[in-house]
Symmetry: C2
Subunit: 706 residues, 2 copies
Amino acid sequence: MTAHTVSKGLDAFFNPNAIAVIGASDNPDRIGGRPLHFCRQAGFAGALYPINPTRDTVQGLPAFASLDDVPGPVDLAILAVPAEQIADTLRACGHKGVRGAVIFSAGFAELGAEGQAAQDELLAIARAHDMRLLGPNCLGFFAARSGASGTFSSGLDGGIPARGKVGLITQSGAYGTHLLSMAKARRLGVAAWVSTGNEADVTVPDCLAHMVEDPDVSAIGIYMEGVKRADTLLAAIERARILRKPVLIMKVGASDVGAQAMHSHTASLAGSDASFQAAVEQAGALRVDTTEEMFDILYAASVAPMPAGDRLGILTVSGGAGVLMADAADRHGLSVPPMPKDAVQRMLVRNPFASPRNPVDFTAQAINDFGLVTDFLDEMMQHGDYDAYVGFFTSWAGAARLGPMLFEALTGALAGFDRPFALVGLLGDEMAARYDAAGIPSFADPSRAVAVLAALARLRAGFDRPAVAGALPHLDDTGLPATPLSEAAAKARLAQAGIPCLPEEVAQDAEEAAALAERMGLPVALKILSPDIAHKTDIGGVALGLASAQAVQDAAAAMLRDIPAKAPHARVEGLLVTPMAGEGVELILGSQRDPVMGPMVMVGIGGILAEVAPDVVLARAPVTPDQALDMLARLRAAALLDGVRGRPAVDRAAVADAIARLSVLAAANADTIDSIEINPLLATPDGILALDALIVPRGRDAEEDP
Amino acid sequence: MTAHTVSKGLDAFFNPNAIAVIGASDNPDRIGGRPLHFCRQAGFAGALYPINPTRDTVQGLPAFASLDDVPGPVDLAILAVPAEQIADTLRACGHKGVRGAVIFSAGFAELGAEGQAAQDELLAIARAHDMRLLGPNCLGFFAARSGASGTFSSGLDGGIPARGKVGLITQSGAYGTHLLSMAKARRLGVAAWVSTGNEADVTVPDCLAHMVEDPDVSAIGIYMEGVKRADTLLAAIERARILRKPVLIMKVGASDVGAQAMHSHTASLAGSDASFQAAVEQAGALRVDTTEEMFDILYAASVAPMPAGDRLGILTVSGGAGVLMADAADRHGLSVPPMPKDAVQRMLVRNPFASPRNPVDFTAQAINDFGLVTDFLDEMMQHGDYDAYVGFFTSWAGAARLGPMLFEALTGALAGFDRPFALVGLLGDEMAARYDAAGIPSFADPSRAVAVLAALARLRAGFDRPAVAGALPHLDDTGLPATPLSEAAAKARLAQAGIPCLPEEVAQDAEEAAALAERMGLPVALKILSPDIAHKTDIGGVALGLASAQAVQDAAAAMLRDIPAKAPHARVEGLLVTPMAGEGVELILGSQRDPVMGPMVMVGIGGILAEVAPDVVLARAPVTPDQALDMLARLRAAALLDGVRGRPAVDRAAVADAIARLSVLAAANADTIDSIEINPLLATPDGILALDALIVPRGRDAEEDP
């Protein structure tokens, strides 16, 4: 191994020339002994300096009484000493010119204010010496290429993981160890693993930014609890997207009870889980719920090429498994288009018992005529033009006679093929590793194989997306007052930003109502104005679609005459006249400043039903009109915008423009405005109309927020 | 092994005294050799008769030239002969008094009409001799207790599965083999496995009905494509429910493309997937999407007790894993209530660094103080009163020092405990098997452990449900004409069945409108009646909430005066007068005869939004009002019924009564009525009102249906 050049950033950790272990133990099972032991096991070729004033040698290496006694420079220090010695030790590291320090000890910010102060001191020492800190309260890290293993995680017990292309980043040490152990159990090749603990300095986003640039790392899995430095996180995800490296994120605390448990367990700010999800997926990462899902996708991404689209070709020896995989494709958003008719004909000539449409069932005839497998696969590869393939071969894949035949056939047919092929079969670890090496990931459960291909397709769609979709709308004036606004003022401000609002005026008698109606433009709606009448419709207090001045006057006169009799105790303050907004779809459009992720814009289906079964899409503000169109397409009830029951489609472009304009306002005023809400926003075939609006400045209770 | 008594049903297969293999091969790898080989491997202790006219012995057993040459009685015949010899061979079986026959050969109904005729002939022969048929085109069966192994499935290659309590039923032979192989790879103990193929006689429901009564079988997994004998299936599921045996069903063909592939692959009728799901879950089974999900649940159900409710206690060595499991619990519908305060205090005294609320994080302190594990578990068992427990112990479970300590601690604490405890950890097969034997299922992925406990809780809730919830409403007359009904006639018929309908009448002029309104009761709605005006509201053609005769007359006069000017080409046929239905929630209530599952009743949220994002619940008709209340509770937007934005709750009991009444009508007329639809059904605080109704008789095109 050649000597490494230590550059800035996190190279002091992942790529050091010399490591000192302070508090080094001769016992390779102890916390102070493990890093030394693991570094040597992992083949670290740089200098290793055990620091231990009581011994001449540690694990066979010459020991030093103190860091100052070390003859050469030290890039990385592993601090395996008690919490109360950390600050002094860190100062010594600074004086020695150490560039990175790993602090295992707990007893800092996780204990409350006093611990936080002690942790702040560590950070100040590190900053003063231009030194990066990993931890405290972390399990350290492991880097496959350099062999640097600044960790005591039991995840390295029983052996270093197979060298591979996957990077793993975890806030939790214990869960990080679980991840590392699962990765080893699943033959997932690991390039680097890091646990960030309390994140006094180095955070999950910092590690992601580092790993993204590492040519050894081709896919990254993250386990996180709270988010520090959302901007760094999103920028690193965006960078990974441009470099076409999948980023998978497990973030816990999605549920109320989970979030509650998390905030008792970490010191993280409580942002909204939905905002987090929207922002990281917008940047190009994929949020996953379970560890197995994350590993499945990392595994496939580190073995196979990425699919260019959502068209799945299904090859199978079992009709039933074919149907099962077609169902799974549908569930996960992949399409299963049929083979071209001439190819179907050729395959039927080749095997009259086959069902070669897609799923392509070559049947168990292949036991006696093995060429069927490659012939059918060739047809699919050459004429099906699928973006991804899955092949169900059940126990054949591991069988004594058929297994090697299948391996030859598949690796031969797929050599150099640039689209992913997932094998479903029952096979031993050795055969599976051979398939891995040939670029063919394997799964026992067909549903899981299809789910993974779908996830790869989603990631690849993110890679292919241009960095910026369209331009943000230009607003002449994005300023909003930081004080409460009346509804009328809010509407006026939105109208000024290019979001039209519905006017409404109050008439005191029937004649004035008719005059207002003619001025506004007919038809109009008329409503009795009374703070005491909740259900106006029930007592004739609402008239809709009044199409002439006479009709307005008649209806107004009838209301003013009849309603006092129906509701004798109600104060009647007049009649509200508004133009008929026309038929349309009621939406909700709004922004909300998330304490963690910043300004978010939201569009949703309006109306009372949406209150109990919300249908909303979030994005980080600002968004372009193109991005806003994409938000609309992701509404569960998006088809409502296309016209239902013979209604015409609404003007999606106008809605998208309003979303973009509101998002620009929200982003420009993120420091002073908490939320903007237009509810309802009426979308019609001819445009949009804000029927009601609210702008809420940030309150004093939000001030504790940095 | 003692001799078995052959009883009726499927005992001839699973529990025979004597088996003949017709077409027996000396080569244990061939189709005719495998059943003999497997029977002996599985320890079948009855008589085994190879039938082969060309050999004296087969696999060391004396061979017979024909079935007639066999000296004693034969219960079960395995027919490993070509399709064209099956009929004659079956006749010979009949003459010999064989009770059950397994037919491996393909070449019957799956090939079309001619094959169907050949298959019908087989069934006729079997019926004539009171003999049951398994297949044709199947892979046979395997029974652990008797060792009877009438199969050539490669799923038995490399060894018979571990003896256990799980029954597996599959239509697909190839996927059935995959299931058997996966079961073996996952150390799932198998009691019986059967593949039904073309189901000329024995169907999946028949096998289920048999296995449910087998004391060796405690949980059953089914893989199915089409459904034959829905009534048998539902009755067997109901029987399993009463015997408290979990039934898990994977039914493929849920997606359009999957269904299309399936119908090209099987000869099954196309019922609705939603009807299937509703009916089997109503009967007490659980539908699962993936094989791993099915095996996870079967595994846990065959190892652990069932949870009595949905309260999950989470014990963990990692705060992060605790949060992750709390999230998973929320996702899968389990609750995570906190520990009592005094217990929390005791645990904090025991370990001040713990977070002992729930999740209960005992922390890695337990490495040095192992009693923390049992102390905290004891607190949770004695004071938490959880229905199910999950414990996260990561690599501890398989570690050299901690592994055995943990095993002692957990098995000691949990011995005889009647609630499930799922262990999450990384452990070898041997340790996992020891935990299994101790009633503690183990998983590597915490999310998966929680998902399984949630599935067990759902199954157990089904077990606890009384067989009949309440009584069906009594209808004096359930007859419906089998001919088309006008809307008015349909409403009248529904009103007679106890479902009130909204009247509407037509007025020709303003005076008549006012008179009708007074007769109906004020307030009323008034609408212009014209086949040519689609958007009545836009031109003033709708007036709502008219509260006096004068207001009706004014509004009617205005419409008749103004609308001809607005819409000069529209034919105006009069004015529609209806009572104001009042505020309420629009529902859809209907029935639909499913070609496979029979009459289904459906309730859903109404309105235009529901058209694009449907929110409906199905059940097999008839249902009692209690069952109907349960349907309402399962609507995604069920909260709408409780009143939103200050509205009062609607009368759920009235809605449920209407659902039950309609379901009784649908069930009573299943032979002649295709569908009944009430859309909308207005639910108000005071009751319900059908605003529109349609009754559709079965058309001639439905007649091909048996």
